[in-house]
């Protein structure tokens, strides 16, 4: 910001707009409602400059400039949608469509999985031009239960590699080879399980083509109904990552990270991302159980079970005092249940001996 209080400006498609020093052309343009196409961009990562779809024309520059890596300079005259850059974007999308097995992928594949499809449609790039060899070799042999590695649909944007390094700090995957033969890999072409991968799923959720897929969600592909997203907070630990639960009817079919979650900005760990099987698991208790004279557990009604529990608690409190009770809420219980539990322990027993396994 200059000293007299006026902010520096650029000209964006003919309109003078202010920018914050250090802001990239892409950021300023997006802030002003411009819809510049991107495929290698993830706002959480260092700009990479690989896909070149974000090129814009800048007055005085001989060739179009990648807006994600160019910083705003006072007085810059930028055209984000000139015929020239639109031609390049279309050619690039046609080239991309030519290197993949599929353009269409199931929306359950991941959060970002529709990005490429949407741009192919926007640029009417299903022309079949530029056909030739396809890139990437899938790894159906990777036995892990969480992540599909379908590199036949990979476009080498390296968002997975970069999110794993920059966001997760795990450095589990990298780029093998070069040029058209680049391939996402772990060391020595092995499986994710033997690598540094923590199965956080970040690579999956940022993959713009569905080359990486959420196997848990995809397993529910056949469930009928509209997919509904419900925003909540992951109960597993104290960080408080925001997630969107995907449901169809009454069934939970997947979890996606919330990019605008204040605590996580789209990051999750393996538990929040993938560990939701227990919710609909057949082994899950659906009725209260009460231990009988025979020492075995027997199905019982709620009234009977609650009476038995209350009786026991009261007896303990009577004999040993209110601090003899220690409540531990489960990380697998909903937040509302956890809240009720502490209310019950504090208000009901009059002790602060209440904890949650998620605190660990």
């Amino acid at each position: 910001m200059s000293t007299n209080g006026t902010r520096p400006t650029i000209v964006l498609d003919g309109e003078k707009v202010a920018f914050t020093p250090g802001e990239t052309v892409y950021e300023a343009a997006t802030r002003h409602g411009k819809d510049i196409p991107t495929l290698c961009y993830d706002p959480r990562l260092e700009p990479f400059g690989g896909c070149r779809l974000c090129v814009v024309e800048i007055e005085g520059a001989r060739t179009p400039v990648a807006s994600c890596t160019a910083q705003c300079q006072s007085g810059m005259d930028v055209r984000t949608r000139s015929a020239r850059v639109e031609v390049h974007r279309r050619t690039l999308m046609e080239m991309l469509a030519s290197e993949n097995r599929e353009v269409e992928v199931d929306e359950l594949t991941s959060l970002a999985s529709q990005e490429m499809t949407e741009l192919v449609d926007r640029y009417e790039a299903r022309t079949g031009r530029f056909e030739g060899r396809q890139s990437g070799a899938s790894r159906p042999d990777d036995p892990n239960p969480f992540i599909m590695r379908d590199y036949d649909n990979c476009i080498s944007c390296y968002r997975c590699v970069r999110v794993c390094a920059e966001q997760e700090g795990d450095y589990a995957i990298s780029v093998k080879g070069r040029g058209f033969d680049t391939q996402i890999t772990v060391e020595f072409d092995g499986h994710l399980k033997e690598s540094a991968c923590t199965f956080c799923g970040q690579c999956v959720q940022t993959c713009p083509t569905g080359a990486l897929g959420d196997l848990k969600a995809l397993a529910h592909r056949e469930v009928e109904g509209e997919t509904k997203k419900t925003r909540t907070v992951c109960p597993y630990c104290g960080v408080g990552c925001s997630v969107d639960l995907l449901t169809r009817g009454n069934q939970l079919i997947g979890v996606q990270p919330a990019m605008d979650g204040p605590a996580n900005l789209g990051a999750l760990c393996v538990k929040g991302q993938f560990a939701f099987d227990f919710i609909q698991h057949p082994d899950r208790l659906a009725h209260p159980l009460v231990r009988g004279e025979d020492g075995e557990l027997h199905e019982a009604g709620w009234d009977e079970a609650l009476d038995r529990a209350a009786e026991g608690f009261l007896r303990v409190r009577e004999r040993y005092g209110r601090h003899s009770v220690y409540g531990v809420a489960s990380g697998r219980a909903p937040h509302e249940a956890a809240y009720t539990m502490q209310k019950f322990i504090r208000g009901g027993f009059g002790t602060n001996y209440i904890d949650n396994c998620s605190r660990a």
Partner: protein, 567 residues
């Protein structure tokens, strides 16, 4: 040496990864899984990352005995000189091809471990020094080749006898760093590695940049097919390169230098190492350069086979042990170079010019060119020409004079059909454009560029579509894979030139090839991707009939035989 000894030897040195990998590679004959795990642990590089980076380089062998397997140059000149037969004959020994390895004036080079052999058939392969530049034709005034042919010039004694290190002595004793920058500026010296950026301006930017330690990097990657001038300079005049680097350090306030040498020049590494040793022993390198109190140290870092590592930001990533993708610019290396600190990256020829300029004056150098162009340029001339070799031409010399008067013209009974410019990066010139003068503005006006100065000649026996195919195959092989237009574009163009894919109607074929080329030229992230389509562009401009014969599938000329034989 044990793993721990190798790691301890290099760990505290700047840019340790490449030397560590080469040490394991040389010790074991390949890079084993255990070795890679040890390096990952010792240098704290994540294993997956290190594995990926190693696979980026062409020459790191991953199977036992791989290092000892012969590598045969299958570059554009060598395939015309019997390379494929040599490759076939050496196949039982596990021979593989490699891109042009910078010896097109003495084909065919074959690498065996740390040894270069050359010959036109497997039986003729001998280890011999790479050729000295031929004598200056017509007594032309030279700069970098002025004294290079003197016997013993590569030794410190010989170099000093021929006036070497006098310029540097004057600079460090009598001139301020600013005066050195001004002298280089006035000489008009511009980068000889391809981009032609004014050297004085580059040095001034580094001198004025904040941040230490600063570095001087000599770009000796010379990966451009058809370029072999830097090798001649380093083999026969290593002290000129060292002197130029020290002067650059003095001018910019840098106290350390690196020579990033391409893998395919093992003998050159030994020559440079010996010259550095001599210079250090004589007090020319070290804590007080020629007694001036200015300190300068020099390190050699050997590449491992990747053309893109000649691109300066890719080179810096390679030195730093990172995946060698080019960086986004700005910021430029002059402020954010090696380890993100101010860095001069200059080509071998650029740096080797400096001692002569310091010794004989900026005005002398500027005056060497013709028609107002400053200085000279070494042209590596190869292919179908009577006397291939490195020629130092005054800037502005007509190409015709170089081809016919200096180098003897085409072979008996042949005519010159086309030449390449900038090695392969400038595409082809043919027809009337062969009457161009050798200076950047004139060549750019013909939609090409002089670049590093490699010129390959193709006579009328050559199938230009096949030549273009080989050229594009090179770019596809060397594309780093960072940006979409180049990664996919080089592949698609190669397939179309090979006749493996693409429309079989001429109009549609030309449309696709032109569209890919246009987007590559305008949107690629570095010079490889922006230059590669000059091949197809110039092919279609000069040889439309050959293109349409190729597309419609009939009438392509049969593959040409070795030099001088009928196709």
């Amino acid at each position: 040496m044990t793993d721990q000894e190798i790691l301890a030897r290099w760990k505290e040195e700047p840019a340790p990864l490449l030397p560590v990998l080469h040490a394991f590679h040389a010790r074991d004959g390949y890079l084993s899984e255990d070795a890679i795990r040890a390096v990952s642990k010792g240098l704290r590089i994540p294993l997956a990352d290190l594995y990926g980076t190693i696979t980026f380089y062409h020459h790191f062998a991953r199977v036992p005995g791989g290092l000892g397997c012969p590598r045969v140059c299958t570059g554009p000149v060598c395939v015309q000189e019997g390379a494929l037969d040599i490759l076939a004959e050496l196949a039982p020994e596990g021979a593989t091809g490699m891109p042009c390895s910078g010896r097109c004036d003495d084909p065919v080079p074959v690498l065996r471990g740390h040894l270069t052999l050359a010959g036109r058939s497997a039986a003729d392969l001998v280890a011999r020094p790479a050729p000295l530049p031929p004598p200056a034709p017509e007594g032309a005034a030279e700069c970098v080749f002025r004294t290079i042919r003197e016997p013993g010039h590569a030794t410190l004694a010989g170099y000093r006898r021929d006036g070497g290190y006098e310029g540097l002595a004057r600079a460090v004793r009598e001139m301020t760093p600013v005066q050195v920058v001004e002298a280089i500026d006035r000489s008009g010296l511009a980068g000889r590695g391809g981009a032609g950026f004014p050297t004085g301006r580059k040095w001034r930017a580094v001198a004025e940049a904040d941040g230490t330690p600063k570095s001087i990097v000599c770009n000796a990657d010379e990966g451009e097919p058809g370029c072999f001038k830097d090798r001649a300079l380093m083999d026969y005049d290593p002290h000129a390169v060292i002197e130029g680097m020290i002067a650059s350090g003095y001018a910019t306030g840098a106290h350390r230098g690196f020579i990033y040498l391409r893998y395919e020049y093992p003998e050159t590494e030994d020559i440079l190492a010996e010259a550095i040793r001599e210079a250090a022993e004589a007090g020319i390198l070290g804590p007080s350069v020629m007694g001036s109190g200015f300190a300068f140290d020099l390190h050699i870092r050997r590449g491992a086979g990747a053309y893109i590592c000649g691109e300066e930001t890719s080179l810096l990533n390679s030195m730093e042990g990172k995946h060698p993708f080019p960086r986004n610019r700005p910021p430029f290396p002059v402020t954010h170079g090696f380890e993100n600190l101010p860095t001069v990256v200059n080509n071998v020829e650029t740096l080797a010019s400096v001692p002569h300029i310091l010794a004989l004056g900026a005005e002398w150098y500027a005056g060497l060119g013709m028609n107002g162009h400053a200085g000279t340029k070494v042209i590596s001339l190869s292919g179908d020409i009577l006397r291939p070799g490195n020629y130092e031409v005054p800037m502005g010399l007509p190409l015709e004079r170089l081809l016919y008067d200096w180098a003897g013209g085409p072979l008996e009974g042949r005519t010159i059909q086309a030449v390449t410019m900038a090695g392969l990066s400038g595409g082809f010139l043919a027809g009337d454009d062969l009457f161009v003068t050798l200076d950047e503005p004139a060549i750019r006006a013909r939609k090409s560029f002089l670049g590093a100065g490699g010129i390959m000649v193709f006579d009328d026996s050559r199938d230009m579509v096949e030549v273009a195919h080989a050229a594009m195959e090179f770019f596809a092989h060397e594309s780093c894979g960072k940006c979409f237009p180049c990664r996919i574009g080089t592949q698609r163009l190669t397939e179309r030139l090979a006749g493996e894919a693409g429309p079989d109607a001429v109009v549609a074929w030309v449309d696709e090839v032109a569209d890919i080329g246009y987007t590559m030229k305008e949107t690629s992230a570095c010079g490889l991707g922006t230059a590669a389509p000059l091949i197809t562009e110039s092919l279609m401009r000069y040889f439309p009939d050959a293109v349409s014969r190729h597309v419609t599938g009939h009438g392509a000329l049969p593959m040409a035989g070795p030099r001088g034989t009928e196709p």
